[in-house]
Each structure stands twice: as structure tokens, then as C-alpha cells.
Symmetry: C2
Subunit: 164 residues, 2 copies
DNA sequence: ATACTTGCAAACGGTTTGCAATTTA
DNA sequence: TAAATTGCAAACCGTTTGCAAGTAT
């Protein structure tokens, strides 16, 4: 999906989350720990509903209610562990922010795939524009819509071996 | 607010809209005409609710229901007359697409102001990234969040030098 | 004890839609 | 007169929230 590689992090997501919660007078409960672990178990993009499903499929009985998931997502975002990247179908989509390099996305309108990319010139451009407008940037979201290489490929000769 | 200037257009928005509606087997009703006119009476960004308000304030009795406004917004978007640019407060924000040059936005998180800007290097960058990924771009949305010059300005007196 | 947290169900809010009445070609 | 359109109110749907019961310090 992407060749972006995680950068080395000194502290685990759980620890980082506990740290943040402490500063807010909150606690790292077992529910919150279950959520952080599940969230950082894979690098895929996800929305609230997908996360709830993953948590409900657990066999260890560590289910967490939908409300708690929503509350935790907000906290994970505030703590800098997650960031919201897009809203393709009116659902907020999240990805890892902590321990993962900053990047943007090509979004295929056909298959919905998110392709990550980085390009330094974007940051140069943003700095320049910010300076020109006396604007202090805190974040940005660049969504590039179109058709991915796979979907551009002519379908005439589709591999029928994919069918089972 | 912005020094982007409208480009010359051969056909009026109403005509363009009628043209599009025809191709869909639809009609340019008085309600739809009222809406297009109101929408293109000013270049400001707006959301559905603001448009409804503007239409309700009319003294000529040309009121249009909320549903019709929502339906027309979708049609105006499909026809290429409008485009959705941001979603600051969970409300879709629209702007003129037809007869207005392509640009992006700085979005002030404090006052909600949208500042338009253009920078050619963005397009160069997008072309490069698209080529690298075999991606065919159809559109993009760049939202830059932060604090505008106005909101950065201190409300109270701020000392420029550290006087001890 | 006090403060934080959870799960449930109800509320929220922007947007969409079913439908009967109305308008248009 | 058949097809499109409107306005109303209800539905929709992801998300948020009030609250009572539970848990940690």
C-alpha cells in the first residue's frame, strides 16, 4: 500500500497515551489500553465503525462500547497519537500520527484506496504562503482525488484466476 | 479578503445551469433560477444554511424550501458551477467553481475565515506525484488550518523586547 | 469519599428522502 | 396527461451526551 516506513520511537503508544491522560487528570483504564493497542496493532487507515468491529471480534472478552471508542478517538487525536485524514463517506478516517512520518494522500474515487506520498516542496510552498499571509499554520489536509494506477489499467484482460 | 479575480466567462451561470439540467432531463424552474442567481450574486463562501437564510430574507416573495436548496446545491455541484471546499463545522462550504480560477484555502481555526491563495508549485508537485504513482488526478482539496493574521495579533499589548 | 469512567439509550444536527400536491412541457 | 418539481415532515446516520452504576485512588 505504501512504502513509508515508521520512524523509531522512544516510547510506546500506550505510554504516550498514559502520559497525555495524566496531564489531563485522566486515567489509562483497561478500556483505553485495549483501544490504543488495537489502534496501533496495524497501520491501516480506519474509521470509528471499523475500530468498533475489530474490538467486538476479540475473543478475549475485551469489548468496549461505541461511546468509549468515540471518546478515546478524540483523546488519541488530542494527544497527537492519531490524526483525522479524510472524510470520504461522511465518516472520519484516522491514521497513526505518532511514530509515522507526515504525508498526504492520493484517494482513488473508483476503489477508495488511499495512497500515501511525501513531497518536500509542499512544505516549502506552505511556509511561503503562510509567510505571505501572516498565517500561522497548525496543520493541513491535502486530499488528491482521481483514479489509481490499478483502476486506470484497462480491464479487458482481467485475471479470472482471482475468482474462487 | 482575496485578490483572485474572476475570469471572463462566455455564458451566464443560469445558462450553464439550464444547459446541464437539460442534459439530465430536468428543467430550470423558477426556484432553481432564484437559487442560481442568489448563489452567483456574491463571491463569498457559504453553506446551505446561509443560502437558505439569504433566500428567506428576500422581499420579492421568492422563497425556496430548504429541501429544494439542498437538491439544487447537489445539482450545481454536479454541473460544475459550484464546488465544496471545506467542512469547518460539519457544514459543507461551497464556492463558485465556474468562472473562478482554481485555488486553495487557509482556514483560520479561530475566526473561521477562509483565505484563498494560489501557488503554481502545488500543481507542479501534484503532477510529479501523480506521475510517480501512475495516478490520474481529477481534483484536489488542500485545507491549511491555523491562525490568521488578525487572530494572531495580540489583543493586549505585547512587549517586543524582554525588559528586565 | 471523591473524582473519573463506562455503557446504555436518547439526543443532536446537518442532510436526505417519501409522498401528496402542484407545476410544466 | 405524463413527467418533473416542490414543500413538508419524517427519516437518516455518524457522532455526542446525560445519567446512573461502577471503579480507581
Amino acid at each position: 500500500m505504501s512504502d513509508l516506513t515508521a520512524v523509531d520511537v522512544a516510547v510506546s503508544p500506550e505510554a504516550k497515551f498514559r502520559e497525555y491522560l495524566m496531564t489531563q487528570g485522566m486515567r489509562l483504564t483497561t478500556e483505553r489500553e485495549t483501544i490504543v493497542r488495537e489502534v496501533f496493532a496495524s497501520h491501516e487507515h480506519f474509521d470509528a465503525d471499523q475500530l468498533v468491529s475489530r474490538l467486538n471480534q476479540r475473543t478475549d472478552g475485551k469489548r468496549v462500547s461505541r461511546s468509549t471508542v468515540y471518546r478515546a478517538l478524540a483523546q488519541l487525536k488530542d494527544s497527537g497519537l492519531l490524526r483525522a485524514v479524510a472524510r470520504p463517506n461522511d465518516r472520519e478516517v484516522y491514521e497513526h500520527d505518532y511514530g509515522y512520518p507526515q504525508h498526504d494522500h492520493l484517494i482513488c474515487k473508483e476503489c477508495g484506496d488511499l495512497i500515501e506520498f511525501v513531497d518536500d516542496s509542499l512544505n516549502e510552498m506552505l511556509s511561503r504562503v503562510a509567510a505571505q499571509n501572516g498565517f500561522r499554520i497548525s496543520a493541513h489536509r491535502l486530499e488528491v482525488y482521481g483514479k489509481c494506477a490499478n483502476c486506470c489499467r484497462p480491464k479487458r484482460r482481467q485475471r479470472k484466476t482471482d475468482m474462487i
